[in-house]
């Protein structure tokens, strides 16, 4: 990866400019971090302090009680085991959905670019449109379909839904990447007698690692954060964590415990946060590999 700088380290003027540059970057950091800071600080306060003090201030006394409660004992409906069991539900749903939709997207993108057949572009265009469909409108027909398949209220039903509606984006990502890969490599492999799947698994997939990372991050974030499908297509104990979080946070006529709410919200967001923090580097690299070639 090439690195260049327009602002050069030369002279007093440049040094001042550089200082300004850092100041602007740090300022933006503070703005971006503000909501998270408020959430963390509220989660560490006691309920008494929240009730009497300012909502936007640092805690005078740090307490982890809210975190413990959110994780293990907060009531979600009549089940007072905290948010922990629902995290596991989400994992069980997200992992297969992400893997399946990414793999299918990869095969699809590869078939549509490297084995071009008549109508490939039209098929791609028609499939891509699926990325833009507002999910609220598919809710009822999808419910009917799941009912017909006998998948209503099951984790696999939810996996199917997320796979189907994730396919448009995963195909887009992989198609954009494979289009930039030279056809010559594939042709050479074909001449050597390699078939459709051997070329895909041995040659194409290893090359596509940055794109895989981008796709996985994208799908993981979207599916983990989904509330609409999760609330409509799962039942009670198998709810994903977003639904459970909402159940803790959104009381209609009960007493609000903002510290527990905030702690639960951060816990629910931790996996996606972790993915961005750990794999953020690859994210940018992956985007460089695919999207820009446009």
């Amino acid at each position: 990866m090439s690195r260049k700088g327009i602002v050069r380290r030369r002279g007093a003027g440049q040094a001042a400019l550089r200082l300004l540059l850092y100041a602007v970057l740090v300022l933006f950091c503070l703005v971006y971090l503000l909501p998270l800071v408020i959430m963390v600080s509220t989660s560490l306060k006691s309920l008494g302090e929240i009730r009497t003090g300012s909502l936007i201030s640092l805690p005078t006394q740090v307490s982890l009680d809210a975190w413990l409660k959110a994780w293990g004992t907060a009531c979600v409906g009549v089940r007072c085991k905290g948010i922990a069991p629902y995290m596991w539900n989400s994992v069980l749903m997200v992992v297969p959905a992400v893997l399946i939709s990414t793999l299918l997207g990869a095969v699809n993108g590869y078939a549509l670019t490297k084995w071009r057949f008549r109508g490939a572009d039209v098929i791609f265009a028609l499939m891509l449109f699926g990325a833009f469909i507002p999910f609220q409108i598919v809710l009822l027909p999808m419910a009917r379909t799941l009912g017909l398949f006998g998948l209503a209220g099951t984790t696999w039903g939810l996996v199917l839904v997320h796979t189907v509606y994730g396919l448009a984006f995963t195909t887009l990502f992989f198609r954009n990447f494979f289009v930039s890969v030279s056809d010559g490599i594939v042709q050479a492999a074909k001449i050597d007698g390699a078939g459709f799947f051997p070329i895909f698994f041995k040659l194409m997939l290893p090359m596509a690692v940055p794109t895989i990372v981008v796709t996985v991050i994208w799908q993981f974030t979207n599916i983990w954060n989904d509330f609409l499908f999760g609330s409509a297509f799962t039942v009670g104990d198998s709810n994903p964590v977003t639904v459970a979080l909402n159940n803790i946070v959104a009381t209609s006529t009960g007493v609000k415990e903002y510290n527990v709410d905030m702690a639960a919200a951060i816990i629910a967001g931790l996996p996606t946060l972790a993915v961005y923090v750990l794999a953020g580097n690859y994210f940018v690299r992956g985007l460089a590999a695919g999207a820009v070639k446009g």
Partner: protein
């Protein structure tokens, strides 16, 4: 404390239900949005009482938007062909589902429990479709309350509740002049409509409320009284502070508690906030009926029963229906929830003074035919009509629309829904 209490209720209910208990097991799946805090605890009471009879309780909590998310999920469930056996549904929402042919009747339970003689007639009507009981109420919340901070009111020399809206305005003006925010309110459209609801009853009286809101009589909808209701609503906007946007109702209650505002107009679920902070009624806060011309705005939570297949599930439904209406359960549940029993024959000793006042006024309103179902709490008219009221009222409250314009828009909106 909870488990002890739960045990006490469970055993109490079991003894009441003894004749059925021998064959009672069954399964219920309950879809509800009482997911946290005191509400979840209240559902917990129901669950443990049900399980005490050997039944299996499957919990399906979906919170969000005051039940909107649960209603969305309910549609998906019904369309998919696996409805839950009991759903927290209320008001005309019950009729909507009954019209689709999705509700099961529980007449046998209702008849043997003599529901007709113990429920307020207005409420009993709401629980029935074509004369058959399809739902059971668990509680009654009163909507037309003023929650007041006695210390702040004493500062301007007010000790008695205002009985007309003119008196209310006089009190509020005094408070404002003394630099005290008279009214705490949040910004959810339903909070605006709650305020409007209470004003409509107080300004127009119960008869006006029934004709204009429940019968949607065009003459009343566009009449002078309606203009006056909007005028009073406009005045209320001047009594709230600048920070009302994005504020939930509980934060507004907290303002009254902390002396940042003198009054809040809200249903008696607000009491739970005071109780959680260890405040006592009569001393730390006051519960005054809002100016209401002897009326009473009723809100009630109920469970509707969906058509399910399988003897086990049907049995579970019946047991749950009987349980919900059992006097001891109603007592225990409503002590936990802060409301009063839906049955009017349950003695209220042990309830706080606000609840006792509520019960007393309820009986008076029933005998004087001045009990009205709440528009804001989805008790009065179907969701499509209520939605139009919600839009017009909240838009009026949050803009500088004139009362005449608001009345015109309201009439047009009602006509638009009727055209469907």
């Amino acid at each position: 404390m909870t488990s002890l209490k739960a045990f006490a209720i469970a055993s109490a209910v079991a003894s009441v239900m003894l004749p059925v208990a021998s064959l009672a097991d069954g399964t219920v799946e309950v879809l509800h949005w009482w997911t946290s805090g005191g509400e979840a605890k209240a559902v917990g009471e129901l669950k443990s009482a049900f399980e005490a009879q050997g039944g299996t309780w499957v919990d399906s909590p979906i919170a969000g938007g005051g039940g909107d998310a649960a209603m969305t999920a309910l549609r998906a469930r019904v369309v998919a062909g696996n409805p839950p056996s009991a759903v927290q549904l209320k008001g005309p929402g019950i009729q909507e589902w009954a019209q689709q042919g999705d509700l099961a009747d529980i007449n046998d339970v209702a008849t043997s429990g003599k529901w007709d003689s113990v429920l307020p007639p207005v409420l009993a009507t709401i629980m029935k479709y074509k004369g058959d009981y399809v739902a059971a109420p668990v509680n009654i919340h009163r909507v037309d309350w003023i929650w007041a901070n006695p210390q702040l009111l004493a500062k301007v020399g007010v000790t008695a509740a205002p009985t007309t809206w003119d008196e209310f305005n006089a009190v509020a003006d005094k408070l404002k002049a003394a630099g005290i925010t008279p009214l705490a309110n949040g910004s959810d459209p339903w909070q605006d409509l709650t305020l409007w609801d209470v004003i409509a009853l107080g300004v127009g009286g119960p008869d006006f409320y029934k004709k204009a809101i429940i019968d949607l009589d065009p003459a009343q909808l566009t009449g002078d009284t309606m203009i006056k209701v909007f005028d009073q609503m406009r005045r209320m906007r001047g009594y709230v502070d600048a920070g009302y946007a994005g504020r939930s109702w509980d934060l507004a209650t907290r303002m009254v508690m902390n002396g940042e505002a003198a009054m809040q107009i809200m249903g008696d679920w607000a009491k739970g906030e005071f109780a959680a902070a260890g405040k006592a009624p009569g001393k730390d806060f006051l519960c005054w009926p809002a100016p209401n011309q002897g009326g009473y705005i009723l809100n009630s939570d109920s469970f509707a029963f969906f058509k399910v297949t399988g003897a086990d599930k049907i049995k579970g439904q019946k047991v749950l229906a009987g349980l919900v209406m059992a006097p001891d359960f109603q007592r225990a549940f409503n002590l936990a929830k802060g409301s009063i029993p839906a049955r009017t024959d349950v003695p209220l000793d042990g309830f706080d003074t606000c609840a006792q006042k509520s019960h007393e006024d309820l009986l008076a309103a029933i005998s004087g035919d001045k009990l009205v179902p709440s528009l804001s709490q989805e008790m009065a008219i179907s969701r499509s009509y209520r939605g139009e009221f919600l839009d017009v009222v909240t838009q009026f409250y949050n803009s500088d629309m004139s009362s005449a314009d608001a009345v015109r828009q309201l009439a047009a909106a009602v006509a638009r829904v009727k055209a469907q």
